[in-house]
Amino acid sequence: MNRRVMIVDDNEYVRASVDIICESARLELASAASGPECLEQLEAGFRGVILMDIMMPDMDGWDTIREIVDRGLYPGNVIVMLTGMGEPDSKMEGLQEYVSDYMTKPFTPDELLDSIEYYLTLLNTPVDHD
C-alpha cells in the first residue's frame, strides 16, 4: 500500500509542518526544498502524492511539473498544487491536466490529510485497463 507523500516547498517551516501532520497520520513523507530536488527524488523512484508549491525561486511549481512530464516521471503520481490566492497564470497552460487538485494556503491538518488520503486511495486502486 503506497502511503508516500512529497512536499515541495522552499519554506522549511511549511515542510516541517507537513512533516508533523503526515507523521501523525503515519504517512511516509519525502521533503524537497526546490523543483530540482523534487525531480531528483522522482528520478530516484518516488511515486505517491506530490504537494507542490507554485511560487518558488528559480524553478517554480509549473516549471517543475513541465519537467516531470517531459522526463516521463508523471505516471504513478498525483500532483496537488499548494496555492496562495494567485490567479491562474499563463504558465499553467497545458499543464492543468496533470494537476489533480488545488489546496489554498494556509490549510488545516484535516483539510490536508483528507486530500492526501483521497488521492492515495485513488493511487492504490488498481486501474482496470480493459
Partner: protein, 599 residues
C-alpha cells in the same frame, strides 16, 4: 478673381478696338490710294481729251484753216459746211474713243453725243462753265462738264472767224461713267476686300475675346474648386510670396490668425505676430527658400482665441521656371489633441502599470503571508488537541483567531486590489447561479449558527456582470449575514426585476444597524461590530462589495429599521436581455427600506 475679370475685360476691349482701328486704317489707306488712282485717271482723261482735240484740229485743218458763217451755216475754209457733217465727229470717236461735237455759236451742228432717245444731239445748246469760258471769256475749257445731264471729261476749244470773233466751238470728251468703269471695278474689288478683311479682324477679335472669357471662367471655376478644397481641409494652409507676404490662405488659417482673408493677404509675419515669433517664422522661411525639399518642424502657435496649440509646420518653396524661389507654401498640422491623447495614454499606462505593480505586490505579499501562516494554521489545531489546561487552550484559541484574522486580511486585501485594478468585462450571467455558488461556499459558516438561507432569485434571470466578481459580492454579503443574523435566523436573497436594472437584496433578521453605522458601513476597515472585537472580520468585506457594484455600474446601499431589527443590503445591476420585468420577486422586503444609505 476680380482682378482677373477686370484684366480680361480690358484685354477684350483692347483687342476689339485694335481690330477696328486696323480695319479703319486699312480702309482709309485704300481709300486714299483709290483717290490717287482716280486723280490719275482724271488726269489721263484730260490728257486724252487734249490729244483728241489736237486730232480734231488736224482733221479740220485738212479742210481749211478759217471759219466763217455763211448763210447761217458754219463754213470751214472756202466751202466746207460743217453743219450736219457728223462724219468728222465719228472719225474722231473711231480714232480716239472720244465723242466730238462741232458747235455753231452755242448750238451743236454736228455731233455723236447722243440724246436719251438714241438720236444725235443736233440742235442742243452748250451750257455751264464751258459756255462761260468759250462765249463769255473767249477762252478754251478743260475739265468735267455735264452734257445733257451726263458727266463727261471734256475739252472745248473756241472757233474764231477771221476777225477773231467766237463763232462756234469744238468739243471732245468721254463719258466719265465709261472712262471710270475700270476704276470703279477696281474700287469695288478693293472695297470688298477691305470690308472682308475688316470683318475678319473684328470676328477674330470677338472670337479671341470670347475664348479669353471662356478661359477666364474655367480658371475661375478651378480657383473656386481649389479654394473650396483648401477651405474644407481643417488644417491651416497658407502661401507667401518671395518677400514673405501672405498671398493665399484657407478658412482654418483665417480662424487661426483671427482675420478674414481680405485683411490677411499682403501682410507679413511681423504684421501678425510679435517680433520674436515673427522672426522665428521668417528665419525658418528663409531656410526653406534657400533649400529644396520639405521643411518639417514642431512648434507652438497661439490662436486668435488665445489658446496655445502644439503644431507641426510643413513648408516647401515654390520655384519659378528659372528655379528661383518665388515663395512658399505651408500647412500647419495641429497635434494638440494627439499630444493630449498621448499624454493621457501615458498617464493611463502609468496607472495600469501602477495597478499591476500593486496587484503583483499584493499577490506576493499574500503568498509571503500565507506561507508562514501555513505552519501556524496546521500546527495550532494539533497543539490544541494535545493540551488539557483550559488556560493554555484559551491562549491557543486567541493565537488561532489572530492567525485567522491575518489570513482573512491578506485574502480580502488581495480581493480589493484585484477588483479595483481589473474592471471586469460585463457579459450576461445568471444571478441565481452566482448567489448559489457563494451559498455553497458559505453554507458551513451559516450552518454553524443555524442560519437558514433562501435563494429566491429567478434561475432564468440574467444580469450583465462578471460571474467571479458577483460570486465574491454574494460571498461577502452572505458572510456578513451569517455573522450577524439571529441565532437560528433566516437570510433571504431576492431580486426585483425593474426592466433595465435588477435590484438585489440580502436580508437578515439579525442585529441591524443604527443611523451612524449605516453611513459608515461601506468604509474600508470599518467594523459595525466594535463591541465584540470580532477577530474573524477585517472590515474590508463591504468595501469590496462597493467596488464590485461600482465595477458593474450599479448602486449599493444598506437599510435597517434599527438596531435589533435586521439589515437588508441592496444593490442594483444591469439586466441582460429585454425580457419584460417580473414583479413578484423581492416584494415582501420593500417595507424594510425605512432607513437607507445609498452609495
Amino acid at each position: 478673381m476680380k482682378q482677373l475679370k477686370i484684366a480680361t475685360d480690358k484685354f477684350s476691349i483692347l483687342l476689339l478696338a485694335s481690330a477696328i482701328v486696323v480695319a479703319v486704317v486699312m480702309i482709309t489707306a485704300n481709300h486714299i490710294m483709290l483717290d490717287q488712282i482716280k486723280d490719275e485717271a482724271v488726269r489721263q482723261a484730260s490728257r486724252q481729251q487734249e490729244s483728241s482735240m489736237l486730232v480734231f484740229w488736224e482733221l479740220m485743218n485738212r479742210h481749211g484753216r478759217h471759219f466763217h458763217i455763211e448763210n447761217g451755216k458754219l463754213i470751214l475754209g472756202d466751202y466746207y459746211t460743217l453743219n450736219g457733217d457728223n462724219e468728222m465727229p465719228d472719225k474722231i470717236f473711231a480714232m480716239t474713243g472720244s465723242r466730238a461735237t462741232i458747235f455753231q455759236g452755242d448750238t451743236r451742228v454736228a455731233t455723236n453725243v447722243m440724246k436719251e432717245d438714241g438720236t444725235r444731239a443736233i440742235g442742243t445748246r452748250l451750257t455751264g462753265p464751258a459756255y462761260d469760258a468759250i462765249f463769255r471769256r473767249g477762252d478754251r475749257y478743260r475739265g468735267e462738264a455735264n452734257i445733257l445731264g451726263i458727266p463727261y471729261f471734256t475739252a472745248y476749244d473756241p472757233v474764231h472767224d477771221l476777225k477773231g470773233k467766237v463763232i462756234g466751238a469744238l468739243f471732245v470728251g468721254v463719258k466719265q461713267s465709261e472712262y471710270l468703269a475700270r476704276y470703279d471695278r477696281i474700287n469695288l474689288k478693293i472695297s470688298a476686300i477691305n470690308i472682308s478683311l475688316a470683318a475678319i479682324f473684328v470676328i477674330c477679335a470677338l472670337i479671341l475675346g470670347l475664348e479669353r472669357r471662356r478661359s477666364e471662367n474655367e480658371i475661375k471655376r478651378q480657383l473656386g474648386f481649389q479654394q473650396l478644397l483648401l477651405d474644407t481641409i481643417p488644417s491651416p494652409i497658407f502661401s507667401k510670396d518671395a518677400r514673405g507676404h501672405y498671398n493665399l490662405c484657407n478658412k482654418a488659417f483665417q480662424f487661426y490668425v483671427g482675420l478674414s482673408s481680405d485683411r490677411l493677404i499682403g501682410k507679413s509675419a511681423f504684421d501678425l505676430w510679435d517680433r520674436e515669433l515673427a522672426r522665428k517664422y521668417t528665419d525658418m522661411d528663409r531656410e526653406i527658400l534657400e533649400t529644396t525639399g520639405t521643411q518639417v518642424y514642431e512648434s507652438q502657435v497661439r490662436y486668435a482665441d488665445g489658446t496655445l496649440h502644439d503644431v507641426i509646420f510643413h513648408k516647401a518653396a515654390v520655384r519659378d521656371d528659372q528655379g528661383n524661389a518665388a515663395g512658399l507654401v505651408g500647412v500647419i498640422l495641429d497635434i494638440t489633441e494627439r499630444k493630449a491623447a498621448e499624454q493621457e495614454s501615458r498617464k493611463l499606462e502609468a496607472q495600469m502599470h501602477h495597478s499591476r505593480m500593486i496587484e503583483s505586490m499584493m499577490i506576493q505579499l499574500n503568498h509571503d503571508l500565507n506561507t508562514p501562516l501555513t505552519p501556524l494554521f496546521a500546527l495550532i489545531p494539533m497543539i490544541r488537541a494535545k493540551v488539557s489546561d483550559p488556560g493554555v487552550e484559551r491562549m491557543l484559541e486567541i493565537c488561532q483567531q489572530c492567525v485567522n484574522q491575518i489570513q482573512g486580511l491578506a485574502g480580502k486585501a488581495l480581493d480589493l486590489v484585484r477588483i479595483s485594478s481589473n474592471p471586469p468585462r460585463l457579459i450576461p450571467v445568471s444571478l441565481s447561479a452566482a448567489a448559489e455558488s457563494a451559498l455553497s461556499e458559505l453554507s458551513p459558516a451559516l450552518a454553524q449558527r443555524g442560519v437558514i438561507c433562501c435563494n429566491a432569485i429567478d434561475p432564468e434571470l440574467q444580469v450583465l456582470g462578471s460571474a467571479e466578481q458577483l460570486t465574491l459580492l454574494f460571498k461577502n454579503l452572505l458572510s456578513n449575514a451569517a455573522r450577524y443574523a439571529a441565532q437560528n435566523g433566516k437570510v433571504i436573497i431576492s431580486a426585483l426585476d425593474k426592466g433595465e436594472e435588477v435590484e438585489v437584496s440580502v436580508q437578515d433578521d439579525g442585529t441591524g444597524l443604527d443611523h451612524e453605522q449605516l453611513t459608515r458601513v461601506f468604509d474600508e476597515f470599518y467594523k459595525a461590530d466594535t463591541a465584540r472585537h470580532d477577530l474573524n472580520t477585517q472590515g474590508l468585506g463591504l468595501a469590496i462589495c462597493r467596488r464590485i457594484v461600482t465595477n458593474h455600474e450599479g448602486k449599493l446601499w444598506a437599510a435597517s429599521p434599527g438596531a435589533g431589527c435586521g439589515t437588508t443590503m441592496f444593490f442594483t445591476l444591469k439586466r441582460a436581455g429585454n425580457q419584460p420585468p417580473a414583479t413578484h420577486q423581492g416584494e415582501p422586503f420593500q417595507e424594510s427600506r425605512k432607513e437607507s444609505n445609498q452609495i
